[in-house]
Symmetry: C2
Subunit: 133 residues, 2 copies
DNA sequence: GTAGTAGTGTTATAATATAACATAATTTTT
DNA sequence: AAAAATTATGTTATATTATAACACTACTAC
C-alpha cells in the first residue's frame, strides 16, 4: 500500500483537521497555537505531523510563504509536483489542476535531456476577489 | 531608466560580489559572516542588499532552500519569472533558460482566464554530476 | 512475544528574517 | 546652490521559522 494511503496518526489528524478548516494557507506556529487545546504542546509535534502529511499528499507547503495548505484535489497523486496561484494582496493560494500544464512540466527535459523527479510552481498575481476591490 | 539598471550601492556590490563568487546558492547568514571583513556587520544590511539585488534582477531567491544565487542570464528581464533545477543531493541550483517554457508560463491562464504577473518554478532531481557518482 | 518501525512528549537551541530608530548620502526639484 | 525627497547605512533588539536530541510509547510484522 502506498505511503500516502496509510491511515493518519492522532497528531496528524489534529493538524490536518485544522489546516482543512482554513481556506487560506496557515503558518506552523498558527497551527500550534490553535491546536494546543487538543494536547499538542510544542513545535516539533507540529512539524513532524506536517512532514508526514506532506509525504502522504494531504498537505502542501507554499514555499514562498512558509505556509501550509490542504490538498484540494482529493489526494494529489504526486505530492512533489504542485502548482499554485498566490495572491500577493490577500495571500490566498489556490492549487491549479491543469492536466496540460501538469504533463508539460512532468515531461520537461532540460538542455542535457534530463527529466526531473518533481517540481513546485508558484504563480503570483492578484486574485479575482481582490481585483474587484 | 529601469530600476534594475540603476547602479549598485556599496553594500549591494559587496553582497553581489560574494554571491557571484559562489557557484551554488548561498544562505543569508553565510553571506553575512563572509563579508564582515568588508564592514557589513548585521543581518538587516545583508537582507536589504538582497532585496534590492532581487528587484534589480541580479540575484534570485531559491525559495525551497532559503538561499540566494546570482542570475546567470546577464540580467533577467523579469526578476519575478524564474525557473530553476535543484539537485537534492548537492543543493546546486541551475537557472533554466528555455524560451518555450518561459513563454508557456508567461502566457498561462488559469481556469478563470486570468494571466499572472510572475512565477517561480523549481524542478527537483539529481544533477548530472551527482548521477555519475 | 520479540524485534523493528513509527509516533509522541519535552526541552533547548539553531536558523531565518524583520521592526524600529537614528543618521548619512544621493538625487531631484526649485 | 539650497531645500526637499528619496535611497542607503548602521545598530540594537526581537520576531519568526525550524530542528537537534533524548526519553518513552504504540503499533506492525514475523
Ligand atoms: Zn494537491
Ligand atoms: Zn487576493
Ligand atoms: Zn535570472
Ligand atoms: Zn547534484
Amino acid at each position: 500500500m502506498d505511503n500516502k494511503n496509510k491511515s493518519l496518526s492522532k497528531n496528524q489528524k489534529i493538524v490536518l483537521d485544522f489546516i482543512q478548516k482554513n481556506k487560506k494557507p496557515v503558518k506552523a506556529y498558527s497551527i500550534l497555537s490553535n491546536v494546543q487545546k487538543k494536547g499538542i504542546n510544542a513545535p516539533p509535534q507540529v512539524y513532524r505531523a506536517l512532514d508526514k502529511l506532506i509525504e502522504k499528499g494531504k498537505v502542501h507547503k507554499v514555499e514562498s510563504q512558509n505556509s501550509f495548505v490542504a490538498c484540494k484535489m482529493a489526494n494529489c497523486d504526486t505530492p512533489h509536483a504542485t502548482i499554485f496561484s498566490i495572491c500577493y494582496e490577500c495571500d490566498n493560494a489556490s492549487e491549479i489542476n491543469d492536466t496540460k500544464l501538469f504533463n508539460y512540466l512532468s515531461e520537461f527535459k532540460d538542455s542535457s535531456g534530463s527529466i526531473f523527479d518533481g517540481y513546485n510552481l508558484e504563480f503570483f498575481g492578484t486574485c479575482n476577489s481582490c481585483k474587484k476591490n
